[in-house]
């Protein structure tokens, strides 16, 4: 178990009658647990082996190599397995409906089995995830993580079928999703990653898969915690407007709250390594009198049963306008980052529908927000889709020819945020 710290950034001063309290809570995990304290892990790599993965042939070959690299990263003692996915799911290794325990021997056997995978068949991602869930169930008490790779759309099952599978698997394991090439659907993989508390990203060239898988597996091996939840207490009469992870990526957690008692809810955040994440919490409280102070929320981290590390979100009503109108830098920054992601999503959607006016306006606003906040990564991706005339005012022109890869990269990575920069002096 590792140690958490939580810090709160907010302007706690409210004018008379105001009820909305906003705060950014930064949670940091030192990840400094020794090997002995680490929870036992279970890892599954799910590789798309549908027909399209064989065209070009180097795609399936690269996927196999990347899987082998990932297998090499798995620590001794970790339960692991490899699944090949087509319109059905098939265990590549081990093949006895369980998970293998990692050792030099089992890793070698697994890599030999991966070498033999062929690209043939369709795509039914829900069935792959279902098999992963069944295999993880044979390794109870471990913290379970999967990597899912696909190159195409989910063709052999309906959206409803996938939704049913996701609802059943939620909380059972964490799944990072990767799309290779440009024939897969961003919204589909995002839905899976979001439900299973994982990340989603695009891999442009098959050759880049190995590095990405290695990084994913190393991160997974570095996780020092079991499942951790963000616990939120709010006073009587208050309501949670939203709880949103805002760094390193934007993820709305509001609907995921599991009630602990009438005033407390837990928001699952999966496993933590040595890392730091920011959350934007917005609470509506019953307004009080001038001079009154109220605890608007108590935020803590819960691993197992015991809450550790807490941050206090407060509200103080004041007549002093200088205090109540002050804008907190962190809250303003992440409100902007959330708007940035929203503008990109809406802009790309409008562009697809041929509403070029809306697309230009939204993507222009996104350029302006990315410039203001110094989000260079997102700015670079935006520049592949629009010609920027004036970044300060968000004056842009849509490019006539946009490579699908550039558009999908922007779409996939639009939720990546940057942290608050140093204060202007």
């Amino acid at each position: 178990m590792s140690a958490f710290t939580a810090e709160c950034y907010q302007n706690e001063h409210l004018p008379l009658g105001a009820s909305e309290v906003n705060a950014i809570v930064t949670v940091t995990s030192d990840g400094a647990a020794g090997h002995a304290d680490r929870p036992e892990a279970a890892e599954i790599v799910i590789v798309d082996t549908s027909g399209s993965m064989g065209a070009p042939r180097r795609k399936i070959k690269s996927a196999g190599e990347a899987t082998s690299v990932a297998i090499d990263c798995i620590r001794d003692g970790v339960a692991f397995g490899v699944i090949a996915g087509t319109e059905v799911a098939r265990a590549v290794y081990p093949i006895d409906s369980t998970l293998a325990i990692a050792s030099p021997q089992t890793r070698a056997k697994a890599k030999r089995a991966v070498d033999r995978i062929e690209a043939k068949g369709g795509t039914a991602i829900g069935s792959w995830l279902t098999l992963a869930g069944r295999l993880f169930a044979t390794a109870p008490g471990r913290s379970c993580h999967a990597i899912l790779l696909t190159d195409g759309e989910n063709q052999h099952e309906t959206e409803d079928e996938l939704d049913r599978v996701l609802a059943e698997l939620e909380g059972r394991f964490q799944c990072d999703c990767r799309g290779v090439g440009t024939d897969w659907r961003v919204s589909e993989l995002r839905r899976i990653a979001s439900a299973l508390l994982g990340s989603v990203d695009i891999i442009a060239e098959p050759e880049a898969m190995a590095d990405d898988f290695q990084a994913l597996m190393q991160t997974a091996m570095g996780k020092a915690t079991g499942n951790v939840s963000l616990r939120l207490w709010t006073p009587q009469g208050a309501s949670v407007a939203f709880v949103r992870q805002v760094a390193p990526t934007i993820e709305d957690l509001t609907a995921r709250g599991l009630p602990v008692n009438p005033l407390t809810a837990d928001y699952p955040t999966a496993t933590w390594g040595q890392e730091s994440r920011d959350y934007h919490v917005c609470i509506n409280v019953p307004p009080r009198e001038i001079g009154d102070e109220m605890l608007a929320a108590r935020v803590s981290l819960v691993e197992g049963e015991e809450p550790c590390a807490q941050a206090l979100i407060k509200a103080i009503w004041t007549e002093d306008q200088q205090l109540s109108t002050r804008i907190n830098r962190e809250v303003a920054h992440y409100t902007g980052q959330a708007e940035l992601a929203e503008c990109i999503r809406e802009g790309l959607e409008a562009r697809k529908e041929g509403d070029l006016g809306t697309a230009t306006f939204k993507l222009g606003r996104a350029v302006q927000l990315a410039t203001e906040s110094g989000n260079d990564g997102t700015m670079k991706l935006l520049q592949a889709v629009v010609e920027v005339d004036d970044p300060a005012t968000g004056t842009v022109r849509l490019k006539h020819e946009v490579k699908p890869l550039d558009e999908m990269s922007l779409d996939t990575r639009s939720t990546a945020t940057v942290r608050v920069g140093p204060a202007a002096t």
């Binding site: 709010t234 009469g237 208050a238 102070e293 109220m294 605890l295």
Partner: protein, 211 residues
């Protein structure tokens, strides 16, 4: 082990109340208040939040203020008796001179008129002798008539709880009370006490009296 919060809740947490979020250790809102308030009630029932509504206009009483901010009702006044009230109409030269309306002269011979206030509504106005029109209970049409009084000017209501309430009914020239030069808002209730003077038109003053 629980601690009492300033709003009277029992809290397990010792920094802020785990029911309402009030800081523990702040002075109690009302001295000696230690009783427990309902814990799942969303309505704030703490003494600080309780507001006695004005019996006349319903505006919440501000703290222990004697007079209602909404209509001037006297919370400390004698309990309104169900006794009889009358309205005494006079011509007030001071009012006439203050307003100094051009083209209107002060009546040379004005006899005081008395109207007993009936239960419920007593309208103040000026009938024109038209048989199709309702005649206001307090009819100021008899000569010498005040041309500044509207046909339907204001209303004195004697409520069942004994309180006398004045309302301007959207008069042309407005209604003032006592020496306040600012007219009362149309259709807003104003509570009157014994001896209060209602001023309408160029010189008409109506004083309400308990008999």
């Amino acid at each position: 082990m629980t601690v009492a919060c300033p709003r009277g809740h029992e809290s397990q947490a010792t920094d802020y109340c785990d029911q309402c979020g009030a800081p523990i250790g702040a002075p109690p809102l009302t001295a000696g208040t230690t009783h427990v308030f309902p814990t799942v009630d969303e309505v704030d029932t703490s003494p600080a939040a309780r507001r006695e509504p004005c019996p006349v206009c319903g505006a919440p009483r501000s703290g222990d203020d004697r007079y209602c901010e909404g209509c001037g009702f006297d919370f400390h006044g004698p309990p309104p008796a169900a006794g009889a009230w009358e309205a005494v109409v006079t011509a007030d030269r001071a009012q006439f001179e203050r307003l100094a309306v051009a083209g209107i002269s002060f009546p040379t011979d004005y006899t005081e008129r008395r109207f007993v206030l009936a239960d419920g509504e007593n309208r103040i106005g000026r009938s024109r002798g038209n048989p199709d029109e309702a005649v206001p209970e307090i009819d100021l049409a008899a000569a010498p008539a005040d041309p500044g009084v509207s046909r339907l000017h204001a209303m004195l209501e004697r409520r069942s709880d004994g309180v006398i309430v004045l309302r301007d009914l959207g008069s042309t020239n407005g209604t003032t009370v006592n020496d306040d030069p600012v007219p009362i808002a149309p259709e807003s209730p104003v509570a009157l006490g014994d001896g209060d003077r209602v001023r309408v038109g160029a010189w008409t003053t109506i004083t309400v009296h308990r008999r």
